[in-house]
Symmetry: C2
Subunit: 401 residues, 2 copies
């Protein structure tokens, strides 16, 4: 029934099903894999042989089981031969990392922008940093499989075009094309390249590399100057009709509330983000600068009244947003990340309190809330995670959703 033309795709799907299984349960034997994924032992043996040869998998020493007969050989992802690159195209600089297949950082660099408004120069700097990473001594033994980029703005992931990055002042920048041009002649020339919004990329880091791949639905709520989310449903990123899904910063939490940069009033973005806190503490007539932000962090730390009130109010509104995400998605976990995390419990505790109050009122257990596994590296490592994510999920045109 299955003929030659179909076999290539099916083989690729089955190969990557084995790799994904070993991501969530490292140390499985060929026999255990056959049982779990429902393929025959001979098929498994052939696929595992290929994956060992190509650097995806490695055999461990069999443990001593006390049982008679040949011991099963545990398999796991090989961290020593293949690499993934990721970049965080940040607000004041880029951060680039190389990881192995397990998400362990092999090398990283910080690259401050000379002029954040100059998108061409920022992208050239980032591309150069990625090429240098690939040439790094730490990576000499590794082959790079792919590259993923997280961008703090609205991006069309299909084309790699950045529509708008409000806090960088970039509009309609063809990030993919500029990076590809910069890679010509380097070791990265022609490699698979993936581009996504920063919250989406950070969500993929949690999905792929946190050791908790069964957390689904998973929401990564990114709170920096503004508010956005990366949402994983059924093991895939929720992107929506035009790639804008997860823009939960523009859900309305307070009708006729403060004006939002989007033109609406009372959006989560205008009530919870760092910009909202600065507007609240210092008035909207002040320009927002890195110095102003530093002032907010220092004054909140020092217990200044205006700063503390602004942070607490934002935290309480965070609790409303957490409730709303809980009701809509019934997530297995909500991860709170982004620059606002530097405010720590001053910001998060009021949010958790409001959420708990709602949960108690409804006599339901509140959803799990946690911080990111990868701290300030979440987005750069998320780039590497995105590359692994898409490489391990080949296009399934003949198969059901």
């Amino acid at each position: 029934m299955i003929v030659a033309g179909d076999q290539q795709l099916l083989k690729q799907i089955n190969r990557m099903a084995l790799v994904r299984q070993l991501c969530s349960q490292p140390g499985m034997s060929r026999a255990a894999l056959a049982e779990t994924v429902g393929l025959t032992k001979s098929t498994i043996s052939l696929l595992v042989r290929e994956l060992l040869d190509e650097g995806w998998l490695i055999e461990e020493e069999p443990g001593i089981t006390g049982a008679l007969g040949r011991r099963a050989t545990p398999l796991q992802l090989d961290g020593s031969r293949l690499a993934l690159l990721g970049a965080d195209l940040g607000i004041s600089g880029a951060r680039v990392v190389a990881t192995n297949l397990l998400g362990e950082v092999l090398a990283e660099r910080e690259l401050p922008y000379a002029d954040p408004q100059d998108s061409t120069a920022c992208l050239a700097l980032t591309a150069g940093g990625l090429v240098q990473l690939a040439d790094d001594a730490a990576l000499a033994e590794h082959s790079v499989l792919g590259i993923g980029i997280g961008v703090h703005g609205v991006v069309d992931d299909a084309s790699g075009m950045l529509h708008i990055a409000p806090h960088l002042g970039w509009r309609n920048v063809d990030v993919a094309a500029q990076l590809r041009d910069s890679f010509v002649g380097s070791a990265l020339d022609g490699l698979p390249l993936f581009i996504q919004n920063e919250a989406n990329v950070a969500a993929l880091a949690e999905l792929e590399f946190s050791g908790q791949s069964g957390t689904d639905p998973l929401i990564y709520l990114s709170i920096g100057y503004g508010v956005g989310a990366g949402i994983i449903v059924n093991g895939r990123l929720l992107t929506g009709l035009s790639g804008f899904a997860g823009e939960v910063g523009h859900t309305i939490l307070q009708q006729n509330g403060p004006a939002c940069s989007c033109g609406r009033r009372g959006c989560a973005d205008a009530l919870i983000g760092l910009q909202a806190m600065m507007d609240d503490a210092y008035g909207t007539h002040h320009t927002s600068t890195p110095e102003q932000l530093e002032r907010l962090f220092m004054q909140a730390e020092a217990g200044d009244t205006a700063a503390t009130q602004a942070v607490t109010a934002a935290g309480r509104n965070l609790g409303v947003l957490l409730n709303n995400l809980w009701a809509a998605f019934d997530p297995m976990a909500i991860v709170i990340g982004g620059g606002a995390l530097r405010l720590g419990e001053r910001f998060v505790a009021p949010g958790r309190q409001v959420l708990d109050d709602y949960a108690n009122a409804a006599r339901l257990p509140a959803p799990a809330i946690r911080t990111p596994h990868f701290g300030p590296n979440s987005i750069a490592i998320g780039g590497a995670a995105m590359a692994r994510h898409y490489l391990m999920r080949p296009a399934l045109t003949t198969l059901p959703a």
Copy 2:
């Protein structure tokens, strides 16, 4: 590479991929199917032969194309041999339908409850109605493939247990077990049975039978006494960790707003649902009865001030909820259904206006909003759609999400 043990599953997946393709593009030839789904022509021919024999597909007369040579035979789903059953376990009665594979109604019955509080009697009545439908003359030529039930409450779809149906007063009712028991010895004994929340089922009717299967994400917003949603993402129902995803009636639209039945304040449910409108128009001290609801519909129709204000206020809050669903999901369409639709434009127009105002403020095109394809039959037909949905998506244990 592909061995005997794998073939059975792969064959089932490929068979149903063909059926799904013909659902969205009826009239394709074997050659066009081979091209589109990426299988060889010989594989397609074998699978199509089986599906013709079993009653899933039928061949049409080839059209006159003017081209030389043998004309391609158009294929489509066969509406004449297989049937699906659906039930809407409503508030005052049940509605049962039989449809063919295309979702066309073959027979239907309304079954008023003697005592809505008596869950055992209501379920026995519904089961009896389904058995009678299957024996109906109109169905004599059809084989029933499966049965789907929509319940106005919170249901665990994996077990078929209803946790709570607030407007029926039912708690912890094992709907699946009671129906299965009633089917023993009838034509429905042992057939696949699926149970879901009513908004989820209505969403599946839109996905499967509306002729718009590419509408994704799709949100079916159900507004009756309360508010809930069925959400389709990547061709699948979003169910969440515990099956509660889509409970958007308990997202908060107005902090410290009116008390909600869930214990929170300011939920969409307490601002938009028919119960909220009655509380607003007549005060919360009045009991809500079918007569009270009829009074609301009549007075809104007649232009009574209190009723009109309540309906308009609910409609404006509907607009806020529509905005929030738009931002979170970037849906291809939001379908507004449920009993509140009887209020017509008095209710929906203010909602659309608020949504349009937000869209204009943000300089974005508003998402598509429409009414259900199946009117008051949405949930019963949705039951049949759910049966087709799950039968056409065999478990994919060896395949990626």
